[in-house]
């Protein structure tokens, strides 16, 4: 039979691949968008020919959960591209190796861990936006919202999708930003009203915009990267930056404590904070950890960076459990069916 033979062949191939691997294999956990991985990996390996990146990519929630589950025996050597609030949790668990990359001085003071040397160093910024499907809006007679408050209007009943903060980094960022912008009491009142219009809570930060682009639900609350990408692909979308300000989060890099490949992991941290890496990030993001390199994205308004709210990460990280518990109590598991 050919199947056992194929099996043997597969096993042999696996061994021979290992036999040829003379480079350091660096296992890097990431929540970067999949289409970014290739160019980032190529650029890093070109600068560091003796190191080869092995990606483990998943959404923010899964990667964070995976890292925590493996706490006793970390599998990752480094993390490149994960929410700073997640890295802060890992840091509290003592899982990160503090390290000052060569270009640390060039990194903006808001975009790195405050400790010295820092446990994590930022790469770029992502922020909450609204995706608005213009074709469906016309068909269903919807007016264009310009603020977060607008989203509570009765005309949007059942037409909005947002990420569930319990599973999505972007969802948590939305909720923590509303609580900071509106104040705790009004923040929850706002979400009570918004909840009446939510058609669905989903589990990723980019899905709301993809659902909006496909017209499945005309309005999505994603982060800006998928919105820009989909608009470039010709989706019938308006990207709206609500006037009250945008919640945002830092994408960051860290070295895992106790990795057997510490030298290579530090090379990665060096590269991630370098101007060369910033050149890569700027293709995808409008705000970078090193000031002065970013170029404005034509799909986004020029004052994008000014619209970011003053975000208190320490507060958000510390209150994460309490916020999520409250959110779940209010919106996650009401016994009456939510309006569709």
């Amino acid at each position: 039979m050919f199947k056992p033979l194929a099996l043997v062949a597969a096993v042999l191939t696996a061994f021979s691949v290992n036999a040829f691997a003379a480079k350091t294999e660096l296992t890097v956990y990431t929540a970067l968008e999949a289409e970014q991985l290739k160019s980032y990996k190529q650029a890093f390996e070109k600068a560091n020919p003796d190191v080869e990146i092995k990606w483990v990519r998943d959404s923010t929630g899964i990667i964070t959960a995976k890292l925590l589950a493996e706490k006793a025996r970390p599998q990752a050597d480094a993390v490149w591209g994960l929410a700073a609030s997640s890295l802060a949790i890992l840091d509290q668990q003592g899982m990160l190796q503090s390290y000052a990359p060569q270009d640390l001085a060039k990194i903006g003071p808001n975009y790195r861990d405050a400790a010295n040397p820092p446990a994590w160093v930022g790469m770029d910024v992502w922020a909450a936006t609204i995706c608005f499907n213009t074709l469906e809006a016309e068909k269903q007679g919807l007016t264009k919202p310009v603020s977060w408050q607008d989203l509570t209007k009765p005309e949007y009943k059942g037409k909005i999708v947002m990420p569930n903060p319990a599973s999505s980094g972007t969802g948590f960022l939305d909720v923590s930003a509303w609580l900071q912008t509106f104040g705790e009491k009004q923040g929850w009142a706002y979400m009570d009203a918004l909840h009446q219009n939510i058609g669905q809570y989903v589990h990723s930060g980019s899905k709301p915009c993809k659902l909006a682009a496909a017209g499945e639900f005309p309005i999505g609350i994603p982060f800006e990267y998928p919105a820009v990408q989909l608009k470039r692909q010709g989706a019938p979308l308006d990207i709206i930056l609500p006037k009250e300000g945008l919640g945002w989060e830092i994408e960051a890099t860290a070295v895992i404590k106790g990795t057997p490949h510490e030298a290579a992991a530090k090379k990665l941290a060096d590269f991630s904070a370098s101007p060369a890496a910033m050149e890569l990030y700027k293709e995808n993001f409008a705000v970078l950890a090193q000031p002065g390199i970013a170029k404005p994205q034509t799909e986004l308004p020029a004052d994008y960076e000014q619209r970011l709210i003053k975000n208190d990460f320490a507060w958000a990280s510390k209150n994460r459990d309490a916020i999520l518990t409250e959110w779940r109590k209010r919106y996650d598991g009401k016994s009456e069916k939510v309006a569709q």
């Binding site: 099996l7 289409e35 959960a65 025996r73 459990d321």
Partner: protein, 571 residues
Amino acid sequence: MAAHMALPLTGKQSAQVPLGDRIFVLGGKLFLLLLLGVAVLMPLLAIFWRGFSAEGGQGGGWVAARELVTSDNFHWLVGNSLNVSLSVAAIVVPLAYLFAYALQRTLIPGKRIWRGLSLLPLMAPSMLPGIALVYLFGNQGVLRGLVADNIYGFWGIVLGEAIYTFPHALMILLSALSLADARLFDAASSMGASPFKAFRSITWPGTRQAVFAAFCLVFTLTITDFGVPVVVGGDYQVLALEAYKAVVGQQQFGRGALIGMVLLLPALFSFGVDAWLRRQHGDAMSGRAQVFKPLSSKGRDGCYLAIVLLICAALLLVFGMAVYSSLVKFWPYNLSLSLNHYQFSDTAGGGWLAYRNSVTMALCTALIGSAVIFTGAYLMEKTNGQKRLNLALRMLSFVPMAVPGLVLGLGYVFFFNLPGNPLHVFYGTMTLLVVCTIAHYLTTAHMTATTALRQLDSEFEAAALSLKAPLYRHYWRVTLPICLPALLDIVRYLFVSAMTTVSAAIFLYSPDTILAAVAVLNMDDAGNVGGAAAMSTLILFTSAGVSLLLAWASRGVLRRSQAWRQGAPAQ
């Protein structure tokens, strides 16, 4: 055949069991116990340990458990899960029974085609029916106009799960209905019993245990699946999804573990009832049975054909829609066809590497798994002695059915990562994925094997014993050939399950061992529904292709070794 010469046996034989058999029986059982211990029990204990340790605010511990169980939210989730699972089981089991009856006990044309079509849902990840339902009945669905509300919610989950679990129930019922003693039906008709009476007094008693088993299987599969709810559940939430969210979104391993323990209850319940039914149930098929052949009946066959056609049409619609959607450029605004979604290199999930890994994993799982499981089931069913060992093995074999793959996967993470565990070297490897997948799908395969084996009279073993033939030779020469159809079903089942599994694997893969079905979930989660549909379609075609190949390759063997079922040729 030896079985025809079965002699009445008296006295005890256990004293003179030959050494080869002792090694075969006891060694086999101990090996199985060790395997089940490492692959099922220890990871589960790790979950319990995690669920009841209050460490690090991860939602575990006794206080958290009491809080969870008394909260309104939890009651709501339990209610939803029960609602959905009972509805699905109530819909699926009768339909599957009719379908199985049509295939085994009537003369409808095209049986092989219907059987093949009915297996479609087994061949794709559980997300696929959900994805297809969105394209059919979602807000932009092609059939949206036919329904009052969009698909998200209760009916979405019920429909998706019904499609997903249908072949699972069908497998058990087909196996139970495959063997029948024609003499009983002859006697019934010569006594003037109506076909309905014959059904009630012959067919039903012979199959009700399988009906119960199918009901339990559908119920537990539904209550523990999160693939369908994650896609079409909307805000109608269920326990399995809650466990997924607790672990993935909130890093609340303890909470996930606690809900996982709640989801264990249905399995414990079905084990109890199954054990009770076993005591009520005699052997359905003796060594002297004549194979039942249905008589022709136009009216009956017409009715059954209509039912079968309806079910197959629904399945074809759903799966056709999924394949079609994978080819559409930009739903719903640009319906031109392209292969863009199949260019995985730029999207999440590892693309073609994931696909190759899945094939390798599925091959290993099918070959190793079926050998281990079938032999294990044989040893449990057909050997006396070691009563306690048998009971332990039987209980362990039932457990995986109720363990959500996600919880099993997490158990593996906790157990194999324990400091000082020498098995840690397997972490992240293909070996562990294979072991985990076999463990995850053990119950259905085991139940199929057991159902087939229970229909064989123990006279066969008695005859072998009286002829002083070693048991292992009897197993190899008599039992395996008789049960070949069931065994091939197990091989096929394990292969396609391994191709489609996602829930356990999501915590166990490493960059080298990412799987195709994990890629589907990743892509769907990221909103790349077209890519998810494309990868699902690939999985679907691979599973279907391998199944067809298996069926074709085995037909010759089957024809030869199963000749006895077609009536007794002169020997």
